[in-house]
């Protein structure tokens, strides 16, 4: 099954005629993703990324192509509006790649999504990939391998490192979900873990967190009820308090968002926490053998 996306997911790329949008639309197509439409206001009727039809609005694109998901490559100023437009078109899955969106805008957007049945992933995220089936986002497809391990992470390239370690050990992935590095994400750990728990193609989950906020801790009540093992990793153990470490959401504020609190919460929930990413494949194997 995998979660969220599969080989049938039809994707509309918002911002497809921009540099990022066009490049990644091509990459997605090359991976096998069904990119069926693009949206750039004013460029309706054109085609982009080797033959993808461009529409003026998301509604038009969905109506013409039955797209069921969106991937947004629109600059921060216009990105919240693009996300709301995708919501208005009732798209079930919307991946918001854009970094640098003002927090108060995201609060508005995320709250609108939560009132609906649509799922927003991101902002500031690499996207979602079900290896061998579909990728919606910017991750390098070739390091992934189809398999039965689910991954959910706040990071981009760190996730790729971990995926490569797993792939090199012959441990494939069912779905890898990049929830992004912003303080107010559309989807977080507590939203994804139940999907993996219910997925008959996922046997175990790797959770990759970092400093800032309490989303890792807040997911632990659910983790305690899970039948599938969870292996964890938390980055930013050497980050000083009060400093934003790249990601807008990666900041230790007073006593909140410390790496130790996260590691402790994970341990208390029965999650095996790797101190170095190199240990992750071994921990996954041991967890699967134990079952």
């Amino acid at each position: 099954m995998s979660i969220l996306i599969d080989q049938n997911t039809r994707v509309v790329v918002q911002g497809i005629t921009g540099r990022e949008g066009e490049f990644h639309a091509r990459q997605m197509l090359a991976y096998g993703t069904k990119v069926v439409a693009g949206v750039t206001p004013g460029k309706g009727g054109q085609s982009a990324a080797d033959g993808v039809p461009v529409f003026n609005t998301v509604r038009e694109a969905v109506s013409a192509t039955e797209a069921g998901a969106a991937c947004i490559f629109v600059p921060p100023r216009a990105a919240p509006d693009a996300a709301l437009e995708a919501l208005d078109a009732n798209l079930p899955i919307v991946v918001l790649i854009t970094e640098g969106i003002p927090t108060n805008d995201m609060i508005l957007v995320v709250n609108e999504y939560r009132k609906s049945s649509s799922r927003l992933i991101g902002g500031n995220c690499p996207g979602v990939i079900s290896p061998g089936k579909s990728k919606i986002g910017i991750m390098p497809g070739q390091i992934h391998k189809p398999g039965r391990i689910g991954l959910v992470s706040r990071s981009g390239t760190l996730t790729y490192e971990i995926v490569k370690l797993l792939t090199d050990e012959g441990i494939g992935q069912s779905t890898v979900v990049g929830i992004g590095g912003d303080p107010i994400p559309g989807t977080t750990f507590i939203d994804v873990l139940p999907l993996f728990e219910a997925d008959d193609e996922t046997d175990a989950v790797v959770l990759v967190g970092e400093i800032g906020g309490s989303d890792e801790e807040d997911a632990m009540e659910f983790v305690k009820t899970m039948s599938k093992p969870v292996i964890g990793f938390i980055s930013g153990r050497t980050a000083p308090p009060g400093k934003r470490m790249g990601h807008a959401g990666a900041i230790i504020s007073g006593k909140s968002g410390t790496p130790q609190a996260k590691v402790d919460a994970l341990n208390a929930a029965g999650v095996r926490v790797a101190d170095t990413i190199r240990d992750i494949p071994g921990f996954v194997r041991e967890a699967l053998d134990r079952k």
Binding site: P102, V110, N111, T157, P183, I184, S214, S235, P240, G246
Partner: protein, 379 residues
């Protein structure tokens, strides 16, 4: 972006908040003049750190002579590494009560929240830890804004006195309006003072503006004060690099915030101290790499450089070219440990093959342990 107290007050005045009629003074004679006009005053250091009072940067002056003397002491004072260049002089208040009022991002609530507490004038984080029941917390619906009934919920739950309850709607609505209009992540009044004759006055104000919103807050640009920033961090912001200064000897560059944070953690695990965090982002061109290296190497404490790249859209050959260019223009005398994996890794490694002073590494862990070893041995 942090605003000074006097800037925050200036802005909040436009939103109807009861702000003292103060004046910014740059010299003792100016403070004297202000006191002559106002009577007894409070003289407050304007620096972008907390704990100004404890550090002796906030003092009452009863007359112009005292005002001049106190201003003379506070101006030029060092508070937590910052030199006081200006003071805010305001009429002194007869304080009967102190309240805390603030709006800030509530990550767990996925919204902004209003917090009110009768325990004002003290560190709110401490109150939150020790006596959280003293804080009334209201989650604000972003589509509806702060409703009057929520203001009432907050003030009655916090157990505030009648003067504050009467003044609260205007103050809280004004604060929230300002918070949204200014794209703040924090707007707090601590303390909101009730004077002995029943006036309610914002004795202090703190506003922090969301960095991501600076593109649409051009009116606030004039308030920017980078003197409190680390100079290398300020420079990094100017050239658009994500850089944090730390205090070790291993300079670190990578692509992706989580990856760079992990590289720092790996260096620490290997027994050495990271000197900085630097994320070149995705798809960086050679010139960004060169600029980043120049920035890192401005730190004289560094004894080894570690470059850890896992390239997806970032191309390893571009990074290698950036390293080569940096080596040409900067006089790099310290060893460089370079790990290039991913897109165009072979081309990137080929560009750097045989380069004097560069030690290649196959994995991030290897890069970290090599860098740690070189940091201590120097070779």
């Amino acid at each position: 972006m942090k605003l000074h107290e006097h800037q925050a007050k200036e802005l909040l005045r436009d939103y109807g908040l009861p702000v003292p009629l103060g004046v910014v003074c740059l010299s003792p004679p100016e403070a004297r003049k202000a006191c002559e006009a106002m009577g007894p005053v409070v003289i407050k250091a304007q620096v972008l750190v907390g704990g100004r009072g404890k550090a002796g940067g906030v003092k009452v002056a009863r007359n112009p002579d005292e005002a001049e003397m106190i201003a003379g002491n506070i101006l030029g004072m060092d508070i937590k590494g910052l030199t006081v260049g200006k003071v805010l002089v305001e009429p002194a208040l007869e304080i009967a009560d102190e309240i805390y009022v603030g709006v800030t991002t509530d990550r767990a609530g996925r919204c902004n929240s209003l917090m009110i507490s009768a325990a004002g004038g003290v560190d709110i984080e401490q109150v939150a830890e020790e006596t959280p029941e003293k804080i009334a917390r209201i989650r604000i619906n972003p589509a509806l804004g702060l409703r009057d009934f929520q203001v009432r919920q907050a003030v009655f739950q916090a157990g505030l006195r009648p003067e504050v309850i009467a003044a609260a709607p205007k103050i809280l609505q004004g604060l929230y309006k300002a918070y949204i209009a200014l794209d703040a992540n924090l707007a707090e009044i601590n303390p909101l003072v009730v004077t002995s004759d029943g006036q309610v006055i914002a004795a202090d104000a703190k506003i922090v503006i969301d960095e991501n919103a600076e593109f649409r807050q051009s009116a606030l640009e004039k308030y920017k004060d980078t003197s409190a920033d680390d100079p290398l961090e300020a420079k990094a912001k100017e050239i658009g690099l994500n850089y944090v200064r730390l205090f070790g000897t291993v300079g670190i560059m990578g692509n992706g915030a989580g990856l760079v944070m992990t590289a720092l953690d790996e260096v620490k695990r290997a027994g050495a101290e990271p000197a900085n965090f630097l994320d070149i982002g995705g798809g960086a061109k050679a010139d960004i790499v060169t600029a980043g290296l120049g920035l890192i190497l401005s730190d004289a404490n560094i004894t080894v450089l570690m470059i850890n790249i896992f390239g997806g859209i970032t191309r390893c050959d571009e990074v290698a070219r950036g390293i080569v260019a940096a080596r040409k223009t900067l006089d790099i005398r310290i060893p460089q440990v370079v790990r290039l994996t991913g897109t165009n890794e072979e081309e990137g490694r080929e560009i750097l093959r045989g380069a004097d002073g560069i030690t290649p590494a196959g994995t991030m862990e290897e890069a970290a342990s090599t860098a740690a070893r070189l940091a201590s041995t120097g070779r």
